[in-house]
């Protein structure tokens, strides 16, 4: 059975790095893996998403709506933006973190205040994780992506199948190893 994941966030949050690490970990477990992402304007504060599919044999790198087993949202409204991909009974992990878009900053639109309440009312398998706060307490807010990665790995039930620490270290310069591995572990604990 092919399983499908979406990582959604805002340019600059480290979604692509988290996706790369996740994909490599899955490959190490012997899965066929396909991954799709859109570059381009991503760096300029736009909404970004990566789709990962893994199983015995994967054809399309893209996920149909209602087919994602897991959505890992790095930002609250991004969770809602991609919610239509979530499979009934699928898991949603949301970073309790807000990034205002320019339309909100300049007052053209309002940032919704009740996102988490509405999600709680609708999604059975919901985990809200203060990843930004956890990472900040660890000394580097940028490690929030590793907190979320840890949470996703736990939710997928694949914590022990890969030596995640090694994969993370292979993707990061040495001086960032410590904080990122601690962030990853806290993410596992948070689910």
């Amino acid at each position: 059975m092919t399983r499908s994941l979406i990582l959604a966030g805002v340019g600059g949050q480290g979604t692509i790095l988290a996706s790369n690490i996740l994909a490599q970990g899955l490959i190490n477990q012997g899965y066929d893996v396909k991954m799709s992402e859109i570059h381009g304007m991503a760096q300029r504060g736009g909404s970004v998403n990566t789709q990962i599919r893994f199983g015995k044999k994967v054809y399309s790198p893209m996920i149909a709506s209602g087919e994602a087993d897991l959505i890992l949202a790095f930002e609250k409204v991004e969770a809602v933006r991609y919610l239509n991909y979530l499979k009934p009974g699928g898991t949603l992990i949301v970073n309790d973190y807000e990034i205002y878009s320019t339309t909100v900053l300049t007052g053209q639109e309002k940032y919704p205040t009740d996102v988490l309440d509405k999600l709680k009312d609708t999604i059975e398998n919901l985990f809200v994780i203060p990843a930004a706060k956890i990472a900040k307490d660890l000394g580097n807010i940028k490690a929030q992506n590793m907190v979320l990665l840890g949470a996703a790995v736990k939710a997928l039930g694949i914590v022990v199948d890969t030596n995640w620490q090694d994969v993370i270290m292979a993707y990061l310069p040495e001086r960032y190893h410590n904080v990122n591995i601690r962030a990853f572990k806290e993410g596992i604990e948070a689910v």
């Binding site: 570059h39 790198p61 087919e67 320019t102 339309t103 909100v104 300049t106 639109e109 807010i141």
Partner: protein
């Protein structure tokens, strides 16, 4: 060894394994990473060219000289390179020549979604279409061989989802290929009419043979499943169709898509009950199938506009399957891309905003974002170079209509080198009073910071002469008093220059010089520079918000500056009338 690679990485790897010796490109999403990866193989000479036409001429020259050469570009780049392409089909090559066109169905980062498969048909050269990263690698090797076997350039057509999706690839060894001997042969390589007319029939003969090959090529294969539904497809569309239908359909998967395999298509059509063509954008395969007198369902059911995905394919082929998901009642704010905090382009657009009566013809690059609110300055965006040339047209048309509306043309540094210089000459030559603003942020930012002739470095990172934009402008004949170099972080200086340009009655050029805020060196240098709001002085007039800086926010009734995003450019400080924004050094 198996590795997960993007299609672009696999194309570079395939070229390396095929013994490719020379590669040239101009960046453009989704093709950019092909050359960036080629540069990591020291056996290949790789270069950024100034534009796609030049790149293809470099690669074409290298191929005629005897090297295996590759040229890569985004789809619209092939419009620029079309001129050499059509004639290289006549001359043929010597060493293999592969031209990669990366199309962008869905316009993820392009100004149109043209379907470049027609270029193969039009230029009369064979075309290959891989559907995943392994095929990118394998087909590139096949492409070089095909090119040499038939003495013809090969078009290698990929799309965003092939370029930027990752899948597992088995790596091989580099083939030991030598640069072939070059022999002078003017009847083959000098396309004066008298020689060219003999090369056209040669090309037609090659095409005839290629048509036969297409029917037998292993790249065009039938995968039998349930024969109630037969699907002819190519590229990423094959993967979507196979994902949705599995063994519940049969497939004719086309990898060599020009010339299309007529016999194979007939055979397949005869042996299935209902025939579908699943392809992105235009009915390229469908029209061919229909021209064979065969019935099929294509664009009646599948969209021409936008990219395909498994969901769209499923809706057509398995309409009874219901898709269930969740929905919450939340108004999701849009997240349009914006100029970064500290972007040097912002100052110019802010200064231009003063002239509501002026027309601003824009161009392509990060500064395209000057179109969107709150800056909302730019009037047009067409193609690279048109920022200047369309401005000349506007000005001449206004003159014809007895209007003296001021026209500004805005263009980036990489775009200026790409195709702005000729436009600038046109402006000077034709006595235009266009005011041109060259946004020199010392890099090709939009596509991810590639070097260009103004940065002093090549693709390999080697030092090269810095080509001075100001000297070019002067050499072209813009009067020295009509050339101003400004720092766009200095709003007073910038506004003065724009005011002067507005009044000018001769070609006028402002060069706004300040490196991109995202360049690593710049980020390091400015890491400690920040601006902050003095809440006691802030009157919440929100003038600073008009800059559209993503670091400035009005949150819960207070103005704030996000210090992780701010780089201390001080534009907000300069527009604040109450002295409520202060510079800090942390």
């Amino acid at each position: 060894m198996k590795k997960i690679l993007t299609g672009n990485e696999a194309i570079a790897r395939g070229a390396y394994e095929a013994g490719c010796q020379v590669a040239a490109a101009y960046p453009g999403t989704p093709s950019t990473e092909i050359l960036e990866n080629m540069a990591s193989y020291k056996e290949i000479y790789s270069q950024w060219s100034v534009n796609e036409k030049v790149a293809l001429e470099v690669a074409g020259g290298a191929a005629i000289a005897g090297a295996r050469a590759l040229c890569a570009m985004k789809h619209v780049g092939l419009n620029v390179a079309a001129d050499p392409l059509f004639t290289l089909a006549y001359t043929g090559i010597n060493g293999g020549l592969v031209v990669v066109t990366a199309d962008d169905p869905g316009l993820h980062s392009s100004q149109n979604e043209q379907d470049n498969r027609y270029y193969a048909l039009h230029a009369k050269i064979p075309m290959l279409e891989p559907s995943d990263s392994q095929e990118c690698l394998d087909y590139i090797k096949y492409a070089f061989q095909l090119s040499e076997d038939f003495d013809i350039p090969v078009l290698f057509r990929v799309t965003t989802r092939v370029c930027h999706s990752k899948s597992l690839v088995t790596l091989g060894q580099r083939q030991d290929v030598r640069v072939k001997e070059y022999k002078k042969d003017v009847k083959k390589y000098c396309m004066i009419p008298g020689f060219a007319k003999f090369r056209h029939p040669v090309l037609e003969k090659k095409l005839k043979k290629l048509r036969e090959l297409s029917n037998e090529s292993p790249l065009n294969q039938i995968i039998w499943g349930d024969r109630k539904i037969g699907i002819i497809t190519s590229g990423i569309s094959y993967q979507h169709a196979r994902e949705v239908m599995g063994d519940n359909a049969s497939y004719l998967k086309i990898g060599l898509s020009y010339p299309l395999p007529d016999k194979l298509i007939r055979e397949f059509a005869q042996r299935v009950e209902k025939l579908y063509v699943v392809e992105e954008n235009d009915p390229y395969i469908e029209n061919f199938v229909k021209s064979l007198g065969l019935d099929c369902i294509g664009k009646d059911a599948f969209p021409i506009c936008g990219e395909l995905n498994p969901e769209i394919v499923q809706r057509v082929l398995v309409p009874e399957k219901e898709q269930k998901t969740y929905c919450v009642d939340v108004q999701v704010p849009a997240r349009p891309p914006v100029l970064c905090a500290g972007c040097p382009h912002r100052g110019i657009f802010y200064a231009l905003k003063k002239y509501k009566d002026a027309v601003v013809t824009g161009d392509i690059g990060c500064y395209s974002l000057g179109i969107l609110p709150p800056l909302s300055v730019t009037d047009t965006l067409i193609c690279m170079g048109a920022g200047i040339s369309a401005g000349i047209g506007f000005e001449k048309a206004f003159l014809q209509g007895d209007k003296d509306t001021k026209v500004f043309g805005v263009i980036g540094d990489s775009t200026f080198f790409h195709s702005g210089i000729t436009s600038l000459i046109d402006a000077v030559y034709n006595n235009s009073k266009l005011a041109i603003i060259i946004l020199d942020n010392r890099t090709t930012a939009m596509t991810g910071h590639q070097e260009n002739p103004g940065t002093g470095k090549t693709l390999d990172g080697d030092i090269s002469p810095v080509i001075d934009i100001k000297e070019i402008v002067r050499a072209v004949g813009v009067k020295p008093e009509n050339i101003l170099v400004v720092d766009p972080y200095d709003l007073v200086q910038t506004q003065e220059a724009v005011d002067k340009a507005y009044e000018a009655v001769e070609p006028f050029v402002i060069i706004a010089k300040r490196p991109c805020a995202l360049l690593k060196e710049v980020q390091k240098q400015r890491a400690k520079l920040k601006c902050a709001i003095n809440q006691e002085k802030c009157t919440k007039c929100k003038v600073c918000l008009r800059l559209g800086c993503p670091a400035i926010a009005f949150k819960e009734g207070v103005m704030t500056i996000d210090e992780t995003a701010c780089n201390g450019c001080t534009l907000c400080m300069q527009v604040c009338r109450f002295g409520a924004i202060e510079r800090m050094s942390k």
